[in-house]
Amino acid sequence: MTLLLLAALAQEDDLEAKFTRSLGKVAAAVAEASAPSVVAIEVDRDPRSDGDGFNPNQGAAPDYYRRPEGLVSGAIVGADGWILTSYFNVSGEIRGIKVRQDSKTWPAKLVGYDKPKDIALLKIEAEGLPVLRTAVMEEIKTGRTVFVMGRSPDASRATITDGIVSAVHRFKESAIQVDAEMNFGSTGGPCLDAQGRLVGIAAHINPKSSWGQSGGVGFVTRIDAIEGVLEKLKKGEKIEKAKTPWIGILGADSEDPEGVRVQEVLSGSPAEAAKLEADDVIVEVDGKKVATLAELQQTVQGRKVDQDVTLTIVRKGKEQKVKVTLGENPNE
């Protein structure tokens, strides 16, 4: 019996040992294969004015309260020169942007941005640039191996950190959280899975946040969330405010039936247009059970504004289906 236990433990150890070595090898392979798609970004900025309420006059503050000097990062998403980076990298009064890789430098133009998702789109004049494949986002779960790459402080050298997906539901479903070290230098760089596929862009780092200091809490704006707005950004759209989808009800958890009891239907809302009533209990969204208000909010926020959803409700003891066209939450 002890022999069996020992054998099982030995097998466990063997698996762990193999993983320990292989993780390093896979990281090295991903770093080498993906580095050509990672760029450094040099932003020439008027230091006296900076975006997002950042106060450059904190002379006495320790260096982590100021936007550090140095290169930041970006990812090539279009062979003809489309580059994604974080919005924070290019916020404030900028005088010029350069994209750099090894000894090459390109002048870059800020074309569009989505501030709530903290991403920005740049354009350089180039062709045939290497682009990363995208990951299958539905597969992303807590515990997945991820890598975050950047190209700072040296434009001729890519950097890579390793970690796992720490949480999936962040920033209203637009970002995942990872424990791979992320910092000012790597913000804007790509996050990749073990197969080197693009999961998203490192984002939401700014001097006011607690997650720009390689502290093991970092965010990656999902590539599927970015793809949803990419065409708009290419056309020059500058999204300042989040467009959060909503139904427009005040609700509370219901035990029986299990779901969300509508307490009030807000006037002018999609719920009103769909003729929802107080005391309706929402039990499903598009066939998926929702047991709590939190779950309902999560599900709705994972959809898009103007998207149709089918709610299964229980009204006066009888189940029925109601179609709702999600609107834009005016309170965000």
């Binding site: 698996l15 762990e16 193999k18 993983f19 070595r21 292989s22 993780l23 090898k25 896979v26 392979a29 991903v30 080498e32 294969a33 993906s34 050509p36 798609s37 320790p62 982590y64 290497p130 990363l132 494949r133 779960k141 807590t142 515990g143 997945r144 191996t145 970690g163 796992i164 720490s166 949480a167 999936v168 539901h169 962040r170 959280q177 424990d179 073990a194 197969q195 080197g196 607690s210 997650w211 200091q213 390689s214 502290g215 093991g216 809490v217 958890d253 047991a291 709590t292 208000l293 939190a294 779950e295 909010q297 999560q298």
Partner: protein, 435 residues
């Protein structure tokens, strides 16, 4: 070109190993997250299907406190603090109306190996509030049996622990809780953000206290009453010739518990409760991680007729509150095991202060001195002085006539408590009777 390289990756045995482990890791994270509890500004974990739950004392507070808690996914419950351990920074709660809850078992932290993989589940920066999706971080065991700040026998991991992880579980890949995360080593950047040092209260310590916490109320950490050990700074200890072999017993009161164990001054105490005791930090770590009333075996050697002879004895760990009476008072202050503030009502009576000691350096004086909780537990302040006794820096400043003296710990942590000591009240001489 890069797509060709990526194609090569697909046939790669290294990639297969990583993907295989990744699958297990994803399943593991989903499983262990089910036992996680969102509570207040921190975290907790369910340890039995009928709803016993652990967290830090600095998250949930004292016996009788009532909390609204949520599990991963949002299901809401009410929970009550049944037992608390301020010195050990643990609170035990019972979730009401709980049956068949997902839970994790406590494992043995003593059996941990350095380098072992571990996972922490928590809620750093409150990021999971509302979406009820906790944060999972991964790392290894960096060290065990560490004495850091006032965690006397803690686990040190490089798993990222941030404010909000407090009270959450540190779990082995077998799914056993081996620590409750509570502090971080934040000195490197002097911000409260992880730089790769997480400190967790060891499960072996918690297991010793569980029965008394379940019985309810506050639990107390033990001391060996009547013993004085050689703690006087590195030079004396290192040059005493016994460094690494055990700790030198400098004095034994008679009668006392130390006396019961057969100890004599000059003995080298090298094992307590089955744990090798190789230095002063470890002495406090072993003794302090046992509750009052624990029977512990001690092993020591004595120089007899020119040869070292081995001896064994047994002692019952005493109540530090008793140690505050009379001449033990200053020693208790230095050792930092005092729940004395309870004896003195809202404060601690300082009867005497060691000359040139850290308490004196901090401005404390014997007599009618009274300690006031500056918003934090008074015995934490005693622990501050205790660290001072261990040779770290002390900063004592007299602020104004009211003589409120902050005694600061030089080390930042998840919480950096400040604690005020009021010096002797002018005009009233040693007569403050406390309730």
């Amino acid at each position: 070109m890069s797509s060709l390289l990526l194609l090569l990756l697909v046939q790669d045995p290294d990639l297969d190993n990583v993907l295989e482990y990744q699958k297990r890791m994803e399943e593991f994270c989903e499983r262990v997250s089910k036992a996680y509890v969102f509570i207040g500004g921190g975290s907790g974990v369910v340890i039995s299907p009928d709803g016993w739950m652990l967290t830090n004392h600095h998250v949930a507070g004292e016996t009788g406190a009532e909390w609204n808690v949520n599990l991963t996914g949002g299901k809401a419950y009410k929970a009550d603090v049944i037992g608390h351990d301020p010195t050990g920074d643990v609170s035990l709660l019972k979730i009401r109306d709980a049956t068949e809850l997902p839970f994790l078992e406590l494992g043995s932290s003593d059996d941990l190996e350095i380098g072992q993989f571990v996972v922490a589940v928590g809620n750093p920066f409150g990021l999971g509030n509302g979406n009820w999706d906790p944060t999972v971080t991964f790392g290894v065991i960096s060290a065990i049996h560490r004495y850091q700040d006032w965690y006397m026998d803690c686990i040190h991991t490089d798993t990222h622990i941030n404010p909000g992880n407090s009270g959450g579980p540190l779990i082995t890949m077998e799914g056993k809780i081996i620590g409750i995360n509570g502090r971080g080593g934040f000195m490197r950047r002097r911000t409260r953000v992880s730089s790769g040092i997480g400190l967790a209260i060891s499960s072996s310590q918690i297991q010793r206290y569980l029965p008394s916490m379940k019985a309810g109320g506050r639990v107390y950490h033990g001391i060996i009453e009547g013993i004085t050990i050689a703690e006087g700074g590195f030079d004396e200890y290192e040059n005493s010739g016994v460094y690494g072999e055990g700790i030198l017993v400098a004095g034994v009161d008679t009668p006392s518990r130390a006396d019961d164990a057969g100890l004599l001054p000059g003995d080298i105490l090298h094992e307590i409760g089955g744990y090798p005791c190789y230095n002063v930090n470890r002495y406090h770590g072993i003794v302090g991680s046992h509750p009052v009333g624990s029977k512990v075996k001690v092993k020591y050697r004595r120089l007899e007729d020119g040869a070292w002879k081995e001896h064994e004895g047994e002692t019952v760990l005493g109540d530090p509150a008793k140690a505050l009476e009379g001449e033990h008072a200053y020693r208790a202050v230095l050792y930092g095991f005092g729940p004395a503030y309870e004896q003195a009502g809202d404060g601690i009576r300082i009867n005497s202060v060691a000359e040139k000691g850290p308490a004196e350096a901090a401005g404390m004086r014997g007599g009618s001195g009274r300690a006031r909780r500056g918003g934090r537990r008074a015995n934490r302040g005693i622990r501050r002085l205790r660290q001072v006794a261990d040779g770290q820096q002390a900063q004592g400043r007299r602020r104004d006539e009211a003589e409120s003296i902050p005694v600061l710990s030089p080390q930042s942590s998840v919480f950096s408590p400040q604690y005020s000591v009021l010096g002797p009240q002018s005009g009233s001489e040693g007569s403050e009777t406390e309730d």
